[in-house]
Amino acid sequence: MSVDRMQRVALYGRQRDREEILRLVQSLAVLDPETTVPPEQGGRLASELDRGEAALNREIVALEHFLAVLDRWHPVRPNLIEQFAGVRTVLTEEEFAALAADREEAGRLIEEASRIEASLADLSAKRQDSLNRQAALRPWQAMDLTRDDLAGTRRVQLLMGFVEARRREELAARLAERDPRLAVITVGADGTQEALVLAMPRREAADLIQAAVEMGFSPVSLPPFAGTVAEALAREDAVQADLGREEERQRARLAELAGERRRVQALLDQCLSERRRLETARGLLLGARSFGLEGWIHARRVEELRETLTRSGHPFYLEVREPAENETPPVELVNGPVVTPFEALVQSFSYPKYQEIDPTPAIAPFFLIFFGFCLGDAGYGLVLSLFCLGLLWRLKMKPMGRKLARVFIFGGLAAVVMGFVTRSVFGFTVDLPFPFHIDPMKQAIVLLVAALGLGTIQLFFGTFLSALPALRERRFADALFGQGVWLLFLSSAMLAVGKDAVGLGAYGGTIKYLLAASVIGVILGAMRGRKGILQRILAIPAGLYTIYGSIGFFSDILSYSRLMALGLSGGVMATIINLFAGMAWKAGYGVGQLGGAAIFLLGHAINLALAILGAYVHSSRLQYLEFFGKFFEGGGRAFTPLRPERKYTLVVKQKEA
């Protein structure tokens, strides 16, 4: 139920054992390194580390390239759930060790993948060339002349080219005027252009060509081809077929390589872990032949570290001490199994400082109640709980994902309870047994008062929590004048206004006295902090200003009205969906029933999703702003130990089916 106790640790060993010791420390994931290295010491190890890191980087780049090639030609397609939860290869420890050990095999795979990638690119380029040639030749496919024929005879020159179809007549006529021996033969078309062959006497060819060009004729020269154009086109088809088959072969080989993805992923993670060790090594203290690693460790895991190092047989020295006054140890939250999932809410916002209390057990019940209040439907709650239960069971998620899933399971159950209170199941009013019922539509005021009441309870509790440090140190006067009179003032102010509503109208006099006493108490509290009579008198306006600040408190309470708004809007929306679905169903003829069922399923699915989103966002926002604002400072640093990198794989103790 707390922030875990941390101790400052310094681990000394021989430099020649450095890599091995660091590897052990990393595998335990037990030490958060924090060293301040004097600048002159950094240099000695630096060159060795630089070389090591450069070599590792080269290997990492090659491995990542392999994965990139596979992803391009043979991607893994995640289904919708995996898109949210992330896809990673799951391995047991033995599998991981076996796969990562064989660096040579990985090297061979990388080489082969690169070769295949290169040849696939080459094939693709060749195919594009072939297609280009075909495109150039295609307009001429009706032409029955071979390439040799196109060279012409001793006295006749042939020229191929294009002209705009609408200018062809004009071209033919004009050229005929200049030389009636010139023939204009149409062999095909390409869009709006006509493909022409001009046959002209060689001696006048130059002039005629120039004239033709001026009239819009564009000569072309075709890529080399053998036989007729039609034959050439057929041959290109055959070439493309060959290329296609070769491409298939290469892709098949790549598909086989894709089976080795796990090996590369395991090796990658191992290389990343190695690199992390080298980075940590940069922060080591260095002696002549020894090194020192300083950092933070869980108090309860010191023995574990000591035993592991002892078993390794390397000489070492472990120095452990409590954190000093001015030090800020990193924070890890430790809670019982029921409260632990709610750590996700604290982690999303801000870690507590090391000396602060862990707010998780405080927000757990409130968040649950608020979430249930907002979702407020037994059917929705059940669906949510079952869905998250299924997710937990089938999917391997990271710790944060697992925590959130559990939060939603509990939240769904809270919503079921609220559904019993409001007699709401998927928007239908069902008579469910419960000691009391509230009808959200007819008794909206009751719901509002309940929400505001919950808010008041939480804010009072938050104020109490802010008094805890003083109470723990037995500074009762501080707690009384700090928080005690404040709570008294708020209570008496609320009672003074609402005493009739809660049936305490008779105590009007007593309440007035309590109110007056608490105001004096607040002012006295403001004066306590100052020394000297003048300062104390000047503190009175400060005290009055604090009283005025109670408006802030009351507006915080009003903020809790959103619980009622969300609960109501979700419930009314569900009722409306049912209304529409019912109208469609009654229309009948089979189509009506289909439409009604569709409206029901789709409408409730969307409403459920939005309601869950709203319930989560607003329940947690109330914790972060209104509740935390009373007692929580935050700004702590998370405990991030030196641990093995697991970017591509997930290593589990044993495989589940």
């Binding site: 999303s348 708004a565 809007s569 409306i576 939005l610 989103l613 702003l625």
Partner: protein
């Protein structure tokens, strides 16, 4: 001519149309921003989807007010609403209509900025969600106001 009923209908129009526009525009701004982020990194789809959905609630609130008016309140009057009550119905639709419209657009801008957070630091998505949720406060308050105004108009 039952002008009261006409005014009540107008109240429904204000509640639904204005808040719906606000939500549509807010969600639209987010959708555009989210598309840009996902074009660079499809893995961020889930987180950006949550942020994009957030400004959608104003339209829902307006729809709820409108439907309550049509399906519950008007039948109670037999669709024969006197002028003063009709005007009251109209006014009941105004808070959620106007504030749903304005807060929907602003919440869209905040959520779009939150998508920007996700683009750079996907692990801090929840902070963006909290920022967007802050704008919702006023939509909720206006929903509650519209609701109470509505529920207090009786034959």
């Amino acid at each position: 001519m039952v002008w009261g009923t006409v005014l009540a209908f107008l109240g429904v129009v204000v509640a639904v149309a204005f808040s719906g526009y606000g939500s549509a525009r807010g969600v639209g701004i987010c959708g555009q921003t989210a598309s840009g982020v996902v074009a660079e990194d499809p893995g961020k789809f889930g987180k950006t989807l949550i942020l994009t959905a957030l400004p959608g609630t104003q339209g829902i609130y307006g729809f709820v007010i409108g439907m309550l008016l049509i399906l519950v309140k008007l039948p109670a009057f037999n669709f024969n609403v006197p002028l003063d009550k009709g005007f009251m119905f109209f006014l009941a639709g105004v808070p959620i209509g106007v504030i749903g419209w304005l807060s929907g657009i602003w919440q869209g801008r905040v959520a779009a900025a939150g998508i920007g957070i996700v683009a750079k630091r996907p692990e801090e998505a929840s902070k963006g969600i909290v920022y967007a949720g802050m704008v919702e406060t006023y939509a909720i308050l206006s929903f509650v106001t519209s609701l109470f105004l509505l529920l207090n108009v009786n034959p």
